[in-house]
Amino acid sequence: MKSRVALAVGAVLLLGGVVVLSVALAYGGRAAREAYDRLLLGAANDIAASITIRDGAAVVDMPASAFQMLALAPEDRIRYRVTGPDGTTLTGSDAAPAPPRRDAPGPVFYDGDLGAEPGRYVALTRRFAERSFSGPVRVTVGQTLRARQALARDIAGGALAVLAAAGLAIGLFAWLATRSALRPLQRLGRALARRDPTDLTPITLPMPSEIAPVLGALNGFMGRLDRQATASRNLIGDAAHQLRTPVAAIRAQAQDAQDEADPERRARLLARIHERSVGLSRLLDRMLDRAMTIHRTDTAPRSALDLRDVALEIYEALEDVPGGAAIRLDLPPAPVVVRGDALSLVEAGKNLAANALSHGRAPIRIGVARENGSVRLFARDAGPGPAPAILAGMGARFAAHAPGGAGLGLAIAREVAQSHGGALVLGPRDDGFEAALRLPRIGA
């Protein structure tokens, strides 16, 4: 992460540096050229102004100021030349190159060599119209480029120094920002490392909003792990608890049958053992169903579904059960959409309906209803419901009131309701007793 940020910042700085440097070099070069061109022009003007006509000849009384001006570029060599109307050199060096355009009205700047070094020249023309002398006198002044190059380098160097300082500052800030942004993650890592392996409670640490989703997902994940671990524990506990009594009974009856000499009574005992074995097998099925259902509720993907379809499926599944044909379906006309796992919800609903069938009074109705912000998947019978004392214990993992393991159905329904963000609601209604899954509605 840090190295990637460093790479990104470095790339931006490098690119910016190249751009700024080239711009600064170009700007510095232009600024230096203009500044020193003015110097050249000033010197040439000084020289031109010092030309006088004496005895019919142009005489240059070379002014010291011109040379002092040129000496402002202290390391640069100088070349100058004053040419008469016929092109002969009046004074100065013959080696000074002529301007590319000889008849330009104003001063002409041009590049030209000065010995072995490159140089920059200006040429300007002063016209005389005296009785004794008439014609153009051209003044050419040139200089090598050291001062220009030094100034351009200075300007570009200054820009580069500023850029380097800015780059250092940006890099520093990027490093600090990355470090402080990553600090919550380190804190989270330490908190996880410190934790007891069996501790799956949510972690509460102050987190910046960007990292909060990570913590939320982590806590959600731990919650699911926790529920599954609890479910496994419960399954084992239930199994131990609920299997112990029937197995002990079967054992005792088998013992009795072994000891029984009377064949008729022995056959009766064997029939009872068989009956109990069947009950035990059913109990085991239910327990495995529940474990599966609870497992599904945490692992199965949730999707939007119409709760009416769930009710219909329950209804169809119960048609073949004894008494199932008498169940009535009670559905609203519009779709009732919830987010959930259809299989878990069908299983839970089936358990409620089966309870109503086996313990309630006909007619049994199953259906879907809306409430304020939630919806209900319910199973209702016409009876008064269980006694209050029993009602209080219902929905626990196992219930004493229902030998044969019927209490498990409610427990499964409760788990499913909770894993969907809802609740199991049990209670008397105007026209009977209702067991319902109350679920949060999505959409309007």
Binding site: V59, V60, D61, M62, A64, F67, Q68, L70, A71, P74, E75, D76, R77, I78, R79, V82, L90, T91, G92, L114, G115, A116, E117, R146
Partner: protein, 355 residues
């Protein structure tokens, strides 16, 4: 150490060459032979050369002494033709040296010692001022009364003003048409102060003598032919004044021009390494001591050991002749012609006699 004695070269020198003297320093076994061309008298600079060679057994020096104009022409020819000639050139005609460097005839050399030079004494890392020699006035102690000794140019003007002044016709200075150094001093004077205009006029009216060469002028003062000589190179004057009690030497109090002989390594030098070593030696404390002993570096700050008479606050009145391209103006054809025309107006007899 010194192998060969003085040789008069007129006997076998090529006709185009105008060197006055040549002399070899250093052992025969030396692996590098440095060709030094200088306007400085061999007798004056010789001890400095020997001090340099003392600790460098591998180097020998062939010293050629030239007149400044001849040396300038020779170097310009060497430069134009790309001919390897001198390895090091030291000249008192610094405007000519600036011109050679300006024409790209020099080779750069950088060292801690050259970097320590003040800006006025270094140009482009190709030209270095190695000596400090004031332009002085020399007078005859026997013939000039102490009260009359001119301490400044103003004093000299005052001395020349009276129509029956004893100084009329007995003040001498360099003939600028024959002495490059004289021209340089006169030209520097003309840019330095307006005094010089008055002085030239005064020289002209009082019949001052313009003549050639330091030795001739100083001899004339010592022998009483001249009472005062103006703008004489201090190093020569002080050497003579050491031995000759008749000579008095004054650094003018209004301002004192200070010349630094300029050293340059030609572009085509065959021994540039030895040449830069010699330049560095001249700038080192050891070399400066040797130059001081040769009176090529004259301390205007103290009078110790010199016969130089100083005014007060001399350091603020020193006008070093800076090694800058501004000196090129002294070589400009029209400028020279105008300046010489002015000079000839002041010294009509010399001008008329000039070839």
């Amino acid at each position: 150490m010194i192998r060969a004695g003085l040789m008069a070269l007129a006997l076998f020198a090529a006709p185009v060459q105008a060197q006055e003297l040549t002399r070899d320093f250093g052992p025969d076994t030396a692996t590098e032979v440095l060709r030094l061309r200088s306007t400085t008298d061999i007798a004056v600079l010789g001890p400095v050369v020997e001090a340099f060679l003392d600790s460098r057994p591998n180097i020998a020096i062939r010293y050629e002494q030239w007149g400044s104009n001849a040396l300038y022409r020779l170097q310009a020819e060497d430069c134009a033709s790309g001919r390897a000639g001198a390895d090091l050139v030291i000249s008192s005609a610094v405007h000519q040296m600036v011109d050679l460097v300006n024409e790209g005839c020099a080779r750069p050399h950088r060292s801690a010692l050259t970097a320590a030079l003040p800006d006025a004494l270094i140009w482009r890392d190709e030209l270095w001022g190695v000596t400090r020699e004031p332009a002085v006035m020399v007078y005859n102690r026997d013939l000039v009364q102490p009260a009359q000794v001119p301490r400044s140019r103003f004093d000299l003007l005052d001395l020349l003003r009276p129509t029956e002044s004893p100084f009329r016709g007995r003040v001498a200075t360099y003939d600028i048409e024959r002495s490059g150094l004289g021209f340089l001093f006169a030209f520097a004077d003309s840019t330095e102060a307006t005094t010089f205009g008055g002085l030239m006029e005064s020289f002209g009216r009082s019949g001052a003598i313009a003549t050639c060469c330091s030795a001739e002028i100083i001899d004339g003062v010592a022998e009483g032919q001249y009472l005062v000589a103006y703008n004489v190179l201090g190093s020569y004057a002080l050497v003579r004044a050491r031995r000759d009690p008749r000579l008095g030497v004054i650094a003018p109090q209004d301002y004192t021009l200070v010349l630094s002989r300029a050293a340059m390594i030609p572009r085509e030098a065959g021994q540039p390494r030895a040449a830069s070593q010699f330049v560095d030696f001249l700038l080192s404390s050891e070399g400066r001591r040797a130059l001081e002993a040769a009176l090529l570096i004259v301390r205007l700050e103290s009078e110790d050991g010199t016969a130089l008479e100083l005014g007060e606050a001399t350091e603020t009145l020193q006008r070093p002749i800076a090694l800058t391209p501004a000196l090129l103006i002294a070589l400009d054809a029209h400028k020279r012609a105008l300046f010489q025309a002015r000079w000839r107006d002041a010294f009509p007899r010399i001008g008329a006699a000039a070839p």
